[in-house]
């Protein structure tokens, strides 16, 4: 698969020793880390708000070499608490931001998103504004959307819906997605999960495999989602053979 983003030996303010990451086209990844692990800083670096002698390539070209217009066309970054929305409705905001028509149509097909788009921005809840921001970013970005920690604003179910929406967008528009997160609750839905601890990526890979490494995840200051935590512990005690993600199936595996 085509690699769209390459981060090589990133170092900044003692946050990371030598952070490297490559992202394929159409791939959805989550980077999970504790508070102050540098997730927001990484967003700002990818947004070119922090500029230094970094070795970061987007589609084979150093991100510094893009014009502002070119880069904004290619990459969009969502900061949940830093967005100025000026139009009357969500849809008007998408149009003002020059979001692609086909993508607005895609959003309109989803009942929930359509409601947000027709709603007055002034009357939106913070959660609805976050959904609107995600739609703006997906509506504009040709190659990459980066989302900074939305997990502190959305509850568990909303978070799962947001991940499902983002995943559907990666598939529909062949764009890549990076989501920064504190919570591992919805990360089973991503293609690849990274766990950051004290300046290094201590784990990376398929989310179900990664989430079973409870000791390392806990050491990174994060919480393993309940069903995986329970399944792993029951498997360690030889009470079940395989990880079960659904409560009903786990109960069946134990007593049927």
């Amino acid at each position: 698969m085509e690699v769209i983003l390459n981060i090589n030996d990133l170092q900044y303010n003692n946050l990371w020793d030598s952070l490297s990451l490559s992202l394929e086209k159409g791939c959805f990844i989550a980077i999970a880390g504790s508070n102050n692990s540098g997730k927001s800083t990484l967003c700002r670096i990818l947004d070119r708000k922090i500029i230094d002698n970094f070795n970061i390539n987007l589609k084979g070209k150093d991100i510094k070499d893009y014009s502002l217009e070119e880069y904004n066309h290619s990459v969009q970054v969502v900061y949940p608490n830093e967005c100025i929305l000026v139009e009357e409705t969500g849809e008007e905001e998408l149009i003002r931001r020059n979001c692609l028509e086909e993508r607005i149509e895609f959003f309109q097909k989803h009942k929930f998103l359509k409601t947000i788009l027709s709603k007055e921005i002034e009357k939106m809840t913070i959660q609805e504004k976050i959904w609107l921001q995600m739609m703006i970013a997906v509506g504009k970005a040709e190659d990459l959307v980066v989302i900074d920690s939305i997990d502190s604003y959305l509850d568990k179910e909303d978070l799962k819906e947001a991940y499902t929406f983002l995943k559907a967008c990666t598939k529909a528009f062949k764009i890549s997605m990076i989501i920064m997160t504190l919570s591992l609750e919805a990360t089973l839905l991503v293609d690849k999960l990274y766990i950051m601890k004290e300046g290094e990526m201590i784990l990376e890979g398929d989310p179900l495999t990664i989430l079973q490494k409870d000791n390392l995840i806990n050491k990174a200051g994060l919480k393993v989602p309940f069903m995986i935590d329970l399944s792993v512990k029951l498997r360690d005690y030889d009470l079940i053979k395989e990880i079960e993600l659904e409560k009903e199936k786990l109960v069946e595996a134990l007593w049927n």
Partner: protein
């Protein structure tokens, strides 16, 4: 102690609930913003009743503290020390030894005095939360109400803040009130739970007992903790105990498999 809001009237429902002294209380449900705004606003217009007695001015400030979810809402100064001094002035508190007062408030939450000269936004997220709590401790309140205290914190920092809250409860006799939408937090960490639903109190009582009333939660579309959902399913097969800790659940499953 009973907390009542004089001006609250929704379809003839009055609002009052019990805050257990020296316990961790939790308030959850829908429209929590109503409870939050009542506590925040009514604190300023002085018509909160505690045990049927209206609290005014300094008596109210000394009784109830409110820690907001976002630090930006309560911080105006640059350094922790300046913010604490501004707080003392605002609340008309004039201690003999100001520095000692500030150091003591920080010490209770486990912060060292060197944070006094630090810019608040240079502190880690958990340190910022601890500063917010220590500010409120300057008034020596009996009740400390916290709005979504864990929302922006990782698992490790959540444990740290919970340890401080437990210490405030156990060593200093404070009543802690956590207002949160997170059923896991409420179930795991509180002793007394209040479920506020559709503008009135739906359930109130010992947390472990409240969360066993799963039918009421389901009927009102209120989220249950995952451990409760699992136990409920397991109880169709075996007499699994209602526990809070996943390790206790595993021990119990082990006995029954």
């Amino acid at each position: 102690m009973e907390l009542a809001f004089k001006d609250y009237n929704y379809k003839n429902h009055k609002l009052s609930f019990t805050i257990k002294e020296k316990e961790i209380n939790g308030i959850t449900g829908n429209h929590l913003e109503e409870i939050i705004s009542m506590i925040r606003l009514q604190r300023d217009i002085h018509n909160i009743f505690v045990n049927k007695k209206e609290l005014k001015d300094k008596t109210l400030k000394a009784k109830i503290a409110f820690v907001r979810e976002r630090i930006e809402e309560s911080i105006h100064e640059q350094t922790v020390g300046d913010q604490m001094i501004e707080y003392l002035k605002r609340e008309d508190i004039y201690p003999k030894n100001v520095l000692k007062k500030l150091k003591d408030a920080l010490k209770i939450v486990g912060l060292k005095e060197d944070v006094l000269v630090r810019n608040i936004y240079s502190l880690s997220t958990s340190e910022q939360k601890l500063v917010q709590i220590s500010l409120e401790l300057l008034c020596n309140p009996e009740i400390i109400i916290l709005e979504e205290p864990m929302k922006v914190l990782d698992g490790k920092n959540q444990k740290k803040i919970m340890m401080v809250l437990k210490r405030l409860k156990e060593e200093y006799g404070k009543a802690i009130v956590i207002i949160s939408q997170d059923p896991e937090l409420l179930y795991q960490e509180t002793d007394h739970a209040i479920i506020y639903h559709n503008h009135q109190i739906l359930l109130e009582g010992k947390t472990t007992e409240i969360y066993q009333k799963t039918d009421i939660f389901r009927k009102n579309k209120l989220p249950l903790p995952e451990i409760i959902e699992f136990i409920e399913m397991a109880r169709k097969h075996q007499k699994i105990e209602y526990v809070r800790d996943i390790r206790d659940l595993i021990k119990d499953i082990y006995k029954h498999v």
